[in-house]
């Protein structure tokens, strides 16, 4: 139990720093930086906890993104900053970047080395994983405006 907790804290810490770098890259305003780090850290920790409980990665991403999306609503109303400003930077640590690159390099290797069933399997698996994780993340973020605030602006 203690090990799990320590693992989650470490995970949250590094995910938070990762999000901070990208928040600076996206020029997120100063007053939103801390929120960005905290949201990213907690969302990533939630996803890691779910993965630890053997939830498939797409569903874990979806649930983490949904919680993140809902948690940013009160924050966004308080500081009058649109949600995408923090949510997108906060979600970056969960983006399936490695799978996306593996899909592309796999496609190129498929062309370069000739067709093989094993390689094709890897390409399709990585491609689908990228697609579903991304869809899960974006759907999760969109839950609050799509389901709760149907035609009303949040900020």
């Amino acid at each position: 139990m203690k090990e799990l907790l320590l693992m989650l804290v470490g995970d949250a810490f590094f995910a938070g720093i990762a999000a901070f770098g990208f928040a600076l890259l996206f020029n997120v305003p100063r007053q939103a930086l801390l929120a960005c780090v905290l949201f990213a850290a907690s969302a990533h920790a939630v996803r890691t906890l779910l993965l630890h409980m053997n939830v498939p990665i797409e569903w874990a991403s979806f649930i983490a993104a949904t919680l993140l999306g809902l948690a940013t609503v009160p924050w966004s109303r308080k500081v009058l900053i649109p949600r995408p400003v923090v949510t997108v930077a906060a979600i970056i640590p969960m983006i399936p970047g490695v799978y996306a690159y593996k899909t592309m390099t796999g496609l190129m290797t498929l062309h370069h080395q000739g067709y093989s069933l094993a390689l094709q399997q890897q390409v399709v698996e990585n491609g689908l994983l990228t697609l579903f994780i991304l869809t899960g993340l974006s759907f999760g973020l969109a839950i609050a405006p799509v389901l709760v605030y149907r035609n009303k602006p949040i900020v």
């Binding site: 590094f14 990762a18 770098g21 996206f26 020029n27 997120v28 979600i91 640590p93 983006i95 991304l134």
Partner: protein, 275 residues
């Protein structure tokens, strides 16, 4: 703030403002709204936000409605008042991602809604948007730290962490330099990925750390087009299918450009396939 109350207030204001807008004034208002929409689109706000903000600005200025059609390269905007329409088109020059400007435009919209600012003041403020940028070296340091954190999250040890930081820092500085020279985004991604992978391949060649391949893999993660990808899917979810597709295609092209850089660097470094 309760949105119902705001809607009610704007509705009342509309009644008060009725018949007080001349055609010239309507054209001037439309120009300001178009400028706000153009800024939001140029700095990568999602389509729903552009649609909502332009509509709210129009209502705040006393128009009946603002209709907007978004394409990937331009916005077409019609404002309506007493059955009189003014339509204008603005092409979009992509400026990259800047959430500071998106926040600022949103703030200006709220100031207009609360009637703190008049049309002239808002026009002035939109024309002289001054959003502070973070220092380039600081940004590069922290983006490199982000990539190093990814390498840690994937199970790398401290040597991998440091090597990743160094590799991504150099790559990020080159990326900033190329962006400053106004190169095409695809070229920038290709060259940056090439440099990152090439430097990272030394770690693999010399076998630094517990998983040397991680240096190559994670130092190019700064190039993953996360923002366009998330925007693409959320646009499609919220009904802007065509612009979502366009953004998805842009993101795919950027990934392809980075992958080409990676593959070229690996073939030069004679390391074989990535998988």
């Amino acid at each position: 703030m309760d949105p119902n109350i705001t809607n009610q207030q704007t509705a009342n204001r509309n009644i008060a403002n009725q018949q007080s807008i001349s055609r010239d004034e309507q054209a001037a208002i439309t120009r300001v709204i178009a400028r706000a929409g153009q800024l939001l689109q140029a700095y990568n706000a999602e389509s729903r936000l552009i649609e909502q903000t332009t509509e709210r600005l129009g209502i705040a200025f006393g128009l009946d409605s603002v209709e907007i059609a978004l394409t990937s390269k331009a916005i077409i905007l019609t404002s309506r008042f007493n059955d009189h329409c003014v339509t204008t088109t603005r092409t979009m020059k992509a400026h990259g991602i800047d959430m500071g400007i998106v926040c600022e435009v949103q703030r200006i919209c709220i100031l207009a809604e609360k009637q703190i600012y008049g049309l002239e003041q808002i026009k002035l403020r939109l024309d002289n948007l001054a959003v502070p940028k973070y220092n380039a070296v600081t940004v590069a340091c922290f983006v490199a730290l982000s990539c190093a954190c990814f390498s840690h999250l994937f199970g790398g040890d401290s040597i991998v962490f440091i090597a990743t930081w160094f590799t991504s820092f150099v790559a990020m500085r080159i990326r900033q330099w190329l962006t400053q020279l106004h190169h095409n985004l695809l070229t920038v991604f290709f060259i940056t990925a090439f440099v990152a992978t090439f430097i990272g391949s030394f770690a693999t060649g010399f076998g630094w750390g517990n998983i040397p391949e991680l240096v190559m893999v994670t130092s190019v993660l700064q190039l993953v087009p996360g923002f366009p990808l998330i925007n693409a899917v959320s646009d499609m979810v919220k009904g802007h299918v065509t612009i979502g597709m366009a953004r998805w295609m842009t993101a795919t092209l950027l990934t392809l450009a980075s992958t080409l850089g990676i593959v070229l660097a690996m073939q030069l470094a004679q390391l074989g396939g990535w998988i």
